[in-house]
Symmetry: C2
């Protein structure tokens, strides 16, 4: 609650939270160019890449009777919150952390229309003794298993290296790789059919998910009660941050069973709603109805003194996943998601126009040059 917080003179922005994308980006660009030059190798095996998947959230290869999609995703710094909260409460939050890690991979893989089939675990600890905390280890295993059950994916195996000297002592670097197929091939959704007239459907987020945690941790340092601060609904800030990311593959699979193929999908992660204009096409994404912020993001926006442009350009603000659909399928998609316990809304539409996201009710616009992914 803001009343528990002393007034602060300066807003807290993402740049202040210590991640400098200017340093990472030149490497990323060099890597993307080198990677693009390797796609032709698939010809040696009789296959080819789906060129439109370059720069999308998952990479797609045409192997003849089906497409193959694959990805590796890092969880990020959310375990630092779990570690701090474990010290404060004595509980382990690694069951939720496991779900977050799988969600990072699965929610990206499904954007291209893939059915996730196999998840591999990457748990790199700062030393062998990390695994010695039985409560934490069991929570990690149980949460990983449960998330696989929810997504109906096979947990293929993985790596549990002890990397003293590389991973910090007492910490763990968590990631997940996911492999799936797109079958029938008509399920491929890399944006070819994305266009004016499409409806935008949002699937509800459960909280901050796993992006914006550097900012969230920075804020915790400024709160007098830190992670134990009540966010206004009786829930502590730390508990609220640690609510695990929603797994959206049950929705996309149910849509496929109902004969609904999205024209495009966006996993709303880093860059917040700027991600809505992820596809390279020049189109305007007009949001006419803004879903409720989750309590923790409402709290963060207020406490960090973020204006709507900053908040919606950085965090998911209640919308964890976006589907771009033929307009006449939008209401049915909402019903299907709700029937699975995931709230959903028809939030807007795609229009002809310059590349930008217009959030009408908030009078916020993100221009095309505010998102640089490729």
């Amino acid at each position: 609650m803001s009343s528990t917080t002393p007034p602060t003179n300066t807003p807290l922005t993402y740049d202040q939270a210590g991640v400098n994308y200017d340093l990472i980006d030149p490497l990323k660009i060099a890597a993307q160019r080198a990677a693009a030059a390797t796609g032709s190798h698939l010809g040696a095996h009789g296959f080819s890449e789906v060129g439109a998947s370059r720069g999308e959230s998952a990479y797609v290869v045409d192997v003849g009777p089906m497409y193959l999609a694959s990805i590796v995703e890092c969880l990020g710094t959310k375990p630092l919150v779990a570690d701090d909260m474990a010290k404060l409460t004595g509980k382990s939050y690694y069951d939720g952390i496991a779900q977050d890690t799988i969600a990072m991979a699965v929610n990206d893989l499904i954007t291209v229309g893939a059915t996730p089939l196999v998840v591999q675990a990457y748990w790199a600890a700062g030393g062998s003794d990390w695994f010695n905390d039985a409560q934490r280890s069991q929570a990690l295993v149980a949460g990983w298993k449960k998330a696989c059950d929810t997504c109906q994916v096979a947990w293929g195996g993985g790596e549990t290296p002890a990397l003293a000297g590389i991973v910090a002592d007492g910490r763990v670097d968590l990631a997940s790789s996911c492999t799936g197929i797109i079958s029938p091939k008509s399920r491929l959704s890399v944006g070819d059919k994305l266009g004016a007239g499409d409806a935008i459907v949002f699937l509800a987020a459960s909280g901050i998910h796993a992006n914006g945690l550097s900012l969230a941790r920075k804020l915790a340092e400024r709160l007098p009660q830190g992670y134990l601060t009540d966010i206004g609904n009786g829930q502590s800030y730390g508990e609220a941050l640690l609510v695990p990311t929603v797994l959206y593959s049950p929705v996309t699979e149910a849509l496929a069973k109902a004969g609904i193929t999205p024209h495009y999908c966006a996993n709303v992660t880093g860059h917040g709603w700027r991600k809505l204009m992820r596809h390279p096409k020049a189109l305007t994404y007009r949001i006419t109805s803004v879903p409720p912020k989750t309590a923790v993001l409402d709290f963060m926006q207020r406490e960090c003194q973020l204006d709507d442009h900053e908040a919606y350009g950085t965090l998911n603000m209640g919308a964890g996943f976006a589907l771009y659909l033929a307009a006449d399928q939008a209401e049915r998609a909402v019903e299907i998601s709700r029937s699975l316990g995931i709230d959903a809304w028809v939030a807007g539409r795609v229009e002809e126009g310059p590349k930008r996201v217009v959030i009408e009710p908030l009078n916020v616009t993100f221009d095309g040059d505010e998102l640089q992914l490729r």
Copy 2:
């Protein structure tokens, strides 16, 4: 050279190098059990796992017209050697480190008969500024690209997170995921056909590869000139350690083109030649001809005062990959590998008998209970 080293009273063993597998193993076992229980989820999508791949080096799913294989693999602590050597010589070794990282995944994936198709990069740095070293970043990108070229795989994309607080400052946690297919399905090699009478063919290693580096680093601390110690052939210990891991997929692909399907394969990594009895079958693996140790492993064995049982049970000792083949195809396999520039030898045979590895020329035996992988 041992003359440059003061006499030491105690041999240096792997346990002393700081990796305690007893702590990791209970978690591993819990994870393996939970993972095994998720295989049935594939039925919901009309597919099934290849049960025999559980516990093998890559996980295999039957998707109808072909098998799908996937894996994620960590490089380990080899970058610490590269970082130390960069300080000593001013050179970047991350081109070789990139190849090592890809080799960890590709060389495991091919053991089940898969053609690697897509590699994803996982480069988690201790902070954004890690990527600011242009020489190192360029070497990493160039080496990654070159390894993809050698293996004819597509570099699909990846992750370059900055994980301050999780990855140690100035360090990088490198991993790779790899996805491939087994097509035609007759190329599957999970050991069904492995049996007495098979020949064992070794493919040459280039050096230590990427296993045993904790021990190697510990030894460097004991050498008066550390990584700059001459190993006896004019090469420094550090340079010799950093020779990148051989990529074996060109060999397995060439074998397939020649109509040779191994009955089984073992990537000789951690656990050294104990890995030769990786398959659960009760069989005796008799090695009758021991290939030359690479110079760096010969040096390590001498300097660490490892007896043959310890050395061959921990390090690759010159044999980086093992093929188990119908005896009448062994010489042809050796020729094919040599034609690709990778030395190879018919090293022994599979026999009826208790599960064990017998290295006849060295009078060393590893009993079945000396390898616990599942």
